[in-house]
């Protein structure tokens, strides 16, 4: 795993958004698969240990935005696969919109002066 200045700490609240987004584009995933994909997509610059991912999944499931079902993997292991739900899709849309606005605002505030 890469160390050093390249690593990005996730901002509070963005993990939920990333998980929802990943599930929306990649389809059902188990927790390990999800972590691996996210690290890959993030070019290994994303710190994402199981310790943070798990509570996020529990939280999202409790909110009813994702649903977990037990299935068997291709290697005949059992694993819990998470799927995004309709309220989850709606929430993703809303949260993404909010995030865009926030980023736009931050961009202006941080970059205008330079």
């Amino acid at each position: 795993m890469p160390r050093g200045p390249d690593r990005v700490e996730l901002l509070q609240g963005t993990l939920d958004l990333i998980v929802l987004r990943a599930l929306a584009t990649m389809g059902p995933q188990h927790a390990y698969g999800l972590a691996a994909r996210l690290e890959q997509t993030g070019d290994h610059r994303l710190t994402l240990n199981q310790g943070t991912l798990y509570p996020a999944l529990v939280r999202l499931e409790q909110k009813g935005w994702i649903r977990g079902t037990w299935r068997t993997t291709e290697h005949n292991r059992e694993a819990k696969y998470y799927t995004i739900t309709k309220p989850g899709l709606r929430a993703l849309e809303k949260q993404t919109e909010r995030w865009r606005r926030l980023v736009g605002l931050l961009d202006r505030l941080l970059l205008d002066g330079s």
Partner: protein, 895 residues
């Protein structure tokens, strides 16, 4: 969908996870296993050996326990999860120290049990709406305050304003502020036509009373205005219990008739048609009302008046209603302006006689609970010192200060809830005891001042249990936090010790002060009761049986009643075990009052001196039977010689008033409007006729057999019989029944009670107050003594080393002990002084509950101080004595 729906959903999930911890733990374990499996597969794919792969998987997953913890936090509700662990921990920790746990729980159980008991009483009697009326806080009653000059008793009098049926109708027409106006009055009737004669207590009510109270009949109908018009009269509503007893609950009762005989005033018997049956909870105006009659159908006999009741119209305040009703009533009744009217809430008026006492007693148990809490807080303080190591270890392991406080709170809450549970059990017994103490003979002839209002509503209910839970939690937090804050965050042990001792001493001062207040209150009430019950009654109630006889009215017109009573008494004399037997038109404690003018001059219409005296019409043996001493002269002649044809006995109060120092014997007096003189043949002791707390009034006794009444019936309440027995008065009852039955096969005994019971029943309220206040004071003092003991014992235990060193340096054991004792007594003294000052400041509220004592009675305060000083000395000496056993050598060896 509601955008915030997910919050609700999340909370429900968490709650479920909390409630079913097993399921979510299993799910977690399953997920972690799956996770490990997947990782293991991954590492194998990368070419590791199976065992290496498993290790690598574990490593990369990180600390499993930490993960689980994070997971739990996300899944459930963290502080509840903590509580789940804290509570069993608390139980284990209490279980390790059963002596402490028992002491704390028992102390709390007493405090909480007493509170639940008193709250149940306050709630059922003062707070709960009346059970027989809808919206009972809208019911009002009109009271008036009469100055002495208008009052029949020549003393300022507060009483209900009475209105007749006609006045009620007129008032209803004139007022808009009251949606209903009505009246109610008691009535006593004989039941005719049944196997045995009997007396029933009932009420006359105006028809408007039923819609006013929102009362519906169980069967049939209630009264309507037609029942109040001339000729509408003879209808009756039965209570549930009368229906069960007289008609065995027959549903076809409506339309049947019963024969009722009026026994107050002229005796008449009439048939009454049953128009309905009221449900069991309709206890109006009292719990013993067995039937209802229309108040007074128009044009039937002299006008009778009953207290005015009303319901405030919607949206009308009681002040606005008073402003409208008072002038209207004044006009109707023609009262002068100096008689003041006041509209009061019915419920408040009903419970007014017991309200101050109940509030005082409630406050007293509140103080008992505070003392109990202080004691437990003290115990916890002592214990927390012993558990210093445990807390230090837990703090070292990373438990935060809040976490430790939460842990301590969990322990105290567990204690409090255990105490509360035991307290509820105590309260069940307490409520039962209270009911016994408050229960009186339910007799109309003893007046309403005797019985405890709303006793039938008294009980432990859901509200009381919620109250108990609240009190327990509050108590738990209170005594749980005291040690938590008394304990500094860490730091020097010196400051630790100083602070803890300081807290302990403060607690003891508070405890002693509160217990002193209660001891003063308890002593005042108990002494007052002792004084009251020690009052010379003027007669001897021991071994006297009293009873009345109901006879069918059709067989006994007035002129035969005297003969019947004479025959009964003659029969009773022959009964073995009977020393004397007599009859009278009333007995001591019976509220009937017959006042006649008595003077040495014929009725001179001398308005200046009203000269009234209470009249007692008795049979010859009355003085012997009741144990009233004839001070001078003699009683009525046995044989009833003609020389006694116009003889009277007077009491000392009347003798003093009319004759001063002269001897009244042989003198003549005039009674009422009778132009012929009566001769005084004897003077008897003053009798407390109307209760313990009423000074004896001037009284005269005439032989009933020879009395030609000016007007009115001979026995307004029926004849009362009194029998003096040689042993247990109840023992002669079967013989008496035989005698009475031998005279008339339908005669029946009623109101059978030893005279002692009549006396005792009139004392029931002061007795109840004295018992409760006494018990509360005793408990408070005991708890305070235990608290004092505990603190001293703790001090001695903590300072063993210091004491040992001092003694090694030459201090004497007794010196050290004296120092400790002195300090403890000084602490108690501070508490005692504060308590005495508090009691003196607050004792005024007791004024109305005391008899023959002032709230600042010096003897009480001195006695309480001495008693408390003695208790404090003993409670301090016992633990301080242990100082003498400290062995300096052993202590130094430990160093």
């Amino acid at each position: 969908m509601d955008p915030d729906m997910w919050r609700v959903r999340r909370f429900l999930h968490r709650l479920r996870a909390f409630l079913r911890p097993g399921a979510s733990e299993r799910e977690l374990a399953r997920e972690l296993t799956a996770q490990l499996g997947l990782l293991e597969d991954e590492y194998r794919r990368r070419g590791l050996r199976p065992d290496e792969a498993r290790l690598a998987a574990r490593r990369s997953l990180g600390g499993v326990d930490q993960l689980k913890e994070l997971h739990r936090d996300a899944r459930s509700i963290p502080w509840l999860e903590d509580a789940r662990r804290d509570v069993p921990h608390a139980f284990r920790s209490l279980g390790r120290n059963p002596g402490f746990a028992f002491a704390a729980v028992a102390t709390l159980a007493i405090g909480i049990g007493a509170n639940t008991t008193m709250f149940s009483v306050v709630n059922s009697v003062l707070l709960k709406p009346l059970s027989y009326a809808r919206d009972s806080d809208r019911l009002v009653r009109l009271m008036m305050d009469m100055p002495a000059e208008d009052s029949p008793t020549r003393a300022p009098l507060r009483t209900a304003v009475g209105l007749s049926a006609g006045e009620i109708a007129e008032l209803q027409r004139r007022t808009r502020a009251l949606s209903h106006v009505g009246t109610v009055g008691p009535v006593l009737m004989g039941l005719g036509g049944h196997e045995e004669a009997a007396r029933l207590q009932g009420a006359r009510v105006s028809a408007s009373v039923f819609p006013m109270l929102g009362a519906r009949p169980l069967l049939g109908r209630v009264f309507d205005s037609a029942d109040e018009r001339t000729g509408g009269g003879h209808v009756v509503l039965l209570s549930h219990s009368a229906w069960q007893r007289l008609f065995a609950g027959d549903h076809a009762v409506v339309g049947r008739t019963i024969r009722l005989e009026s026994v107050l005033g002229p005796r008449r018997q009439s048939h009454y048609t049953v128009v309905g049956v009221m449900p069991g909870e309709f206890r109006f105006p009292t719990g013993t009302t067995q039937f209802w009659l229309p108040f007074q159908p128009a044009g039937t006999g002299p006008v009778i008046r009953g207290p005015m009741l009303g319901r405030l119209a919607d949206g009308v305040s009681i002040e606005a209603a008073a402003a409208e009703v008072a002038p209207a009533v004044r006009q109707l009744r023609g009262h002068p302006a100096r008689i003041r009217y006041e509209l009061v809430r019915e419920q408040a008026e009903l419970v007014a006689p017991v309200r101050p006492a109940l509030l005082v007693l409630w406050a007293a148990v509140g103080v008992v609970l505070l003392i109990a809490c202080v004691n437990v807080a003290n115990l916890l303080l002592a214990r927390s010192a012993a558990r210093q190591r445990e807390f230090a270890i837990r703090a070292a392991l990373g438990a935060g200060r809040m976490r430790l406080i939460r842990q301590a709170l969990a322990e105290s809450l567990v204690l409090a809830l255990l105490g509360g549970t035991a307290g509820v059990l105590l309260a069940v017994a307490g409520v039962r005891l209270l009911r016994t103490l408050a229960t009186t003979l339910e007799r109309m002839d003893l007046g309403s001042a005797v019985s405890f209002p709303r006793l039938y509503d008294l009980g432990l209910d859901g509200v009381a249990l919620v109250f108990t839970l609240g009190v327990s939690v509050a108590a738990g937090v209170m005594f749980g936090l005291a040690p938590a804050f008394g304990r500094p965050a860490g730091g020097a042990s010196a400051s630790l010790r100083a602070s803890r001792l300081g807290t302990g001493r403060l607690l003891v001062i508070a405890e002693v002060a509160m217990a002193t207040v209660l001891l003063v209150v308890g002593t005042l009430l108990v002494r007052s009761f002792v004084k009251l019950s020690g009052v010379g009654l003027g007669y001897d109630p021991q071994q006297v049986l009293t009873f009345q006889v109901a006879v069918p009215v059709e067989r006994y017109p007035d002129e035969r009643l005297k003969a019947f009573a004479e025959a009964v008494v003659a029969g009773l004399r022959a009964v073995p075990g009977v020393q004397a037997a007599a009859y009278a038109n009333q007995l001591p404690m019976v509220v009937l009052k017959d006042t006649f003018r008595v003077g040495r001059m014929p009725d001179s219409r001398a308005a200046a001196n009203p000269g009234g005296a209470d009249a007692r019409f008795v049979s010859r043996d009355y003085f012997r039977a009741m144990g009233i001493r004839v001070r001078a002269g003699r009683g009525f002649d046995e044989a009833g010689e003609p020389r006694d044809a116009r003889a009277l006995l007077i009491n000392q109060a009347l003798a003093r008033r009319e004759f001063g120092r002269e001897s009244p014997l042989g003198a003549t007096v005039f009674v009422g409007r009778d132009p012929h003189p009566w001769r005084v043949i004897g003077v008897v002791d003053d009798v407390r006729q109307f209760g313990f707390d009423r000074e004896p009034e001037p009284q005269f006794f005439a032989e009933l057999r020879r009395w030609a009444p000016e007007a009115g019936p001979l026995f307004p309440l029926g004849a009362y019989y009194a029998v003096r027995t040689t042993s247990d008065p109840w023992g002669v009852v079967p013989h008496i029944r035989q005698v009475v039955r031998g005279l008339d096969d339908r005669a029946a005994l009623f109101n059978v009670a030893p005279m002692q019971q009549l006396v005792s029943t009139t004392l029931s309220r002061p007795r109840m107050y004295a018992v409760l206040a006494g018990v509360f004071a005793g408990v408070a003092v005991l708890l305070a003594a235990i608290g004092l003991y505990g603190v001293i014992a703790y001090t001695v235990a903590r300072r063993t080393r210091e004491i040992g060193i001092r003694m090694a340096l030459g201090a004497h054991g007794t010196q050290v002990m004296r120092a400790i004792l002195g300090r403890s007594l000084a602490t108690s003294l501070v508490g005692l002084v504060l308590g005495l000052a508090g009691a003196a400041a607050g004792a005024r509220v007791l004024e109305s509950m005391l008899f023959g004592l002032r709230p600042l009675d010096p003897a009480t305060y001195v006695g309480v101080s001495l008693a408390f000083a003695a208790v404090a000395t003993v409670a301090s000496y016992l633990p301080a004595r242990r100082v003498m056993k400290v062995d300096p050598v052993a202590v130094l060896r430990c160093e």
